[in-house]
Amino acid sequence: MIAMTQMAAHVNPSSLPPDPGQADERALLAAVAAGDRQAAERLVGQTYRAVYALLLRLSGDADTAADLTQESYRRAWAGLSGFDGRARFSTWLYRIAYTTFLNHLRRPRLFQSLDERQEETVPDPTPSAEESVGSAAAGDRLRRAVLALPDDLRFTVTALYWGDLPVREVARHEGVTTVAIRKRLRRALQMLALTLGEEAR
């Protein structure tokens, strides 16, 4: 997955071979539409590991990730009529999982205005004294720094690195060019480098 992610972030999408998974997704969706429950189960089986992994990396907690995975699928089933096929099903599912996670973040305070959310609900990336040692703490700092990014950059970084999505898919979903996604990624990496560098001082 790591190798694929790195490739996805740096390879020209136009040179990517046709995605065999998309045809498979469409066939499964057609079967689901026809009422085939087993097809729906296969769809879940094909996608839930990636969804769980994403939510685990976002939340940093296995139980939370499992619960959010369940909630994401519930929302996906309810919203499947809104799936327009613009992006792949897995991309669409990724966005739902991502939104579910953001909603989860805001749940303790319920809902503030979007303007005040950014600083109040995103965890402070500065490490505590206990967290300053060990690789787990380093991973947690990275996670917090990613969550502190502006929304468009945060979505881009997590989609490309943790959601395992190709640049082309993210661009299609966001309605922008692949060049714009790469620019976002670069800005995000710059900001992360700055944040993590300051922490390390």
């Binding site: 790591i2 590991r49 296995a62 499992a66 309810a78 939104t99 909603n103 990275l142 560098g197």
Partner: protein, 624 residues
């Protein structure tokens, strides 16, 4: 001190997390399978999507296109003038040659000939009135691009006065400019002086026109705009008796409105063109061009009393539906009353809508209490949850109009409840980045797109029986003040968008191609400093057939509006059910799950459910 490179960050992002096992729990798959519902609603990509009809109304032609079309018409007219002038000049030269050859005794005869040539310079007599068939009338409003009643550019008379009561851009049938245009300036123009602009719609003054349009038809008939002719036609279908009583006015409307619409707009505007404008124009066209306010004869019977009218009276007994005081009754939490379209077909709403009201309501709900009714402003809640309309592909503004049957029509709607529709009008200014510009500075991020901007919705009385604006209480403009330039004119920044909701009741048996409403925006462009007017016609056929087929943005706005009206204690939502609102909000959270608005829609669903629970626990129904 260490420095972390971007490459190092990328490496850390890509490596597996330390201390976290990416393998899902063993029972997760079983839990997920158990959650699969029995029935899954799905529309396969590529198939027709009944819930996403492409009902976007095309954006009006770009100003450059309009300018070219008008310039082309002007050039055609100028060509005709030149051809006629050249012909006349040739005749005179020839006559002069003949005179030189004739004996002096025939001089008087040549003078007669010269007089005859002068007569030849006069415009040809106006063509006989063309009576439009009913079918034509019904088609006309449906075709926004047909220059049927669109006035010609002001090439001949740049500024012409308009009657004081003419509403914004009322598309009265008009001919080409005439000498009447020289009779006055735009001092009485309802929206102030018009700069010559490609979208300016000159209105002709009937009194000044009468001085140049012999013979003036006695007595001056009350000219009716095109819509009035249509409304008369539709009323004929509904009520024969009423039609009889209005026959006189309707006939005048048809004669002066529709016929001159053809004559003035097509014959006078294109073929007659400049000759008509220079040499006197067409009498029929000129007389009929001045739009006048709709005058309802006293003999017209009151609309048959029904549950809705009673409800209206109950909602605001002191309010006649039209002459309401902006400082008075409409400030009450009860909401706007329904307005009879025949009495006042034009409505306005503010271009600014904050979202502070929702933040306040949310705070109360978070604390387990329903917000006080006066703290809830419906328009602010609607705009907080507005799904972003796309910025315009061209021009300064994108206008959007959507409509669908409302699922929230209260019991007061009675058996006619199926004729209620919820309409959403959206305006979106272009963003700074929507055009190629200099790099945006911090000051440039909030560039001003338009000044003196104002918006109007005109409902077609032949289609809409009555309407009401959701929210905006205390912010509406008194009818008399709507045309004043110093009232409620606002600035619109780049990227600004606003949504307004109307609930309307349709007349029975309306035809799909009839115009339902026209959204108009008039502003002074920040770029060119010219006054620009854009409009968007919404046809009956643009309405979604049912709620599920309605555009998601409309459904979201309607649900948010219903929630706000219930919380505000609006009279029109007194039968509103918060459980129903919560259920529909939950549906929408699925529809919007993968969209940028998804988080807010989830918030709406969550808080609507919370409000329903609070209400249920209180054991009170209907009012918070």
């Amino acid at each position: 001190m260490s420095r972390i490179t971007e490459r190092e960050v990328a490496r850390r992002l890509a490596e597996p997390p330390q201390g976290l096992d990416l393998e899902p729990p063993a029972d997760l798959l079983a839990r997920l399978k158990a959650d699969i519902p029995e029935q899954i609603e799905i529309v396969l990509p590529g198939e027709a999507r009944p819930d996403r009809p492409e009902r976007a109304i095309p954006f009006p032609p770009h100003r450059a296109d309009v300018a070219w079309q008008q310039r082309r018409r002007w050039l055609m007219a100028a060509s005709v003038v030149l051809a006629l002038g050249a012909g006349l000049f040739a005749i005179r030269v020839r006559q002069a040659t003949w005179q030189a050859e004739e004996v002096p005794s025939e001089l008087s005869e040549s003078q007669k000939t010269a007089a005859g040539s002068s007569a030849a310079k006069a415009p040809p007599p106006p063509p006989p009135p063309i009576v439009q068939s009913e079918a034509d009338q019904s088609r006309a409003p449906g075709n926004a691009d047909v220059p049927l009643a669109r006035p010609a550019p002001q090439a001949v008379s740049p500024r012409v006065p308009a009657p004081q009561s003419a509403p914004l851009g009322r598309r009265a049938p008009q001919g080409r400019g005439s000498n009447a245009g020289e009779a006055g300036r735009a001092a009485e123009e309802p929206w102030g002086e018009l700069e010559e602009s490609i979208t300016v719609r000159p209105e002709l003054d009937s009194s000044s026109a009468a001085t140049t349009a012999p013979p003036p038809p006695p007595p001056p008939p009350p000219p009716a705009p095109r819509r009035e002719a249509l409304s008369a036609e539709a009323r004929r279908r509904q009520n024969k008796a009423r039609q009889e009583e209005r026959q006189g006015a309707a006939d005048r409307g048809v004669e002066s409105g529709v016929e001159s619409g053809v004559e003035g707009g097509v014959v006078g505007g294109v073929a007659g063109g400049v000759p008509g404008g220079v040499a006197g124009g067409s009498p029929g066209g000129v007389v009929a061009q001045a739009p006048q306010p709709v005058e309802i004869p006293e003999s017209i019977p009151e609309p048959e009393p029904g549950p809705l009218i009673e409800a209206t009276e109950a909602a605001d007994a002191a309010d006649t539906g039209l002459r309401r005081d902006a400082e008075g009754a409409s400030r009450a939490p009860g909401g706007h009353p329904f307005v009879d379209t025949e009495e006042d077909p034009v409505s306005t709403f503010g271009l600014e809508a904050g979202t502070a009201s929702w933040a306040e309501a949310r705070r109360f709900l978070d604390n387990g209490r329903l917000p006080p009714p006066e703290a809830v402003r419906v328009e602010e809640v609607v705009n907080y949850f507005s799904a972003g309309d796309r910025p315009p592909a061209r021009g300064d503004f994108a206008l959007r109009a959507e409509g669908a049957p409302t699922p929230f029509a209260g019991e007061e709607a009675g058996p006619a409840g199926d004729r209620y529709r919820i309409l959403r009008f959206g305006l979106r200014a272009r963003g700074v980045q929507d055009r190629h510009r200099k790099p945006a500075t911090s000051a440039g991020l909030r560039e001003t797109v338009a000044r003196d901007a104002r918006v109007q919705v005109e409902f077609n009385p032949a289609v809409v029986a009555r309407y009401r604006l959701l929210g905006h209480e205390g912010r509406d403009i008194a009818a008399a003040d709507r045309r004043r330039d110093d009232i409620a004119a606002g600035e619109v920044s780049s990227g600004h968008g606003v949504t307004a909701l109307y609930e309307v009741k349709l007349l029975p048996d309306v035809r799909p191609r009839e115009v339902l409403a026209t959204l108009r925006l008039r502003y002074r462009s920040a770029e060119t400093d010219k006054i620009v007017e854009v409009d968007r016609e919404m046809l009956v056929r643009d309405l979604a057939p049912d709620w599920q087929a309605a555009p998601p943005a409309l459904r979201l706005a309607a649900v948010a509006g219903e929630l706000a009206e219930i919380l505000r204690g609006s009279f029109w939502a007194k039968d509103g059910d918060l459980e129903e609102v919560a259920r529909r909000a939950r549906e929408l959270s699925g529809v919007f799950a993968d969209r940028p608005e998804g988080e807010r829609v989830a918030e709406l669903a969550h808080l609507a459910a919370r409000a329903a629970r609070i209400q249920r626990e209180r054991g009170s129904k209907g009012k918070p």
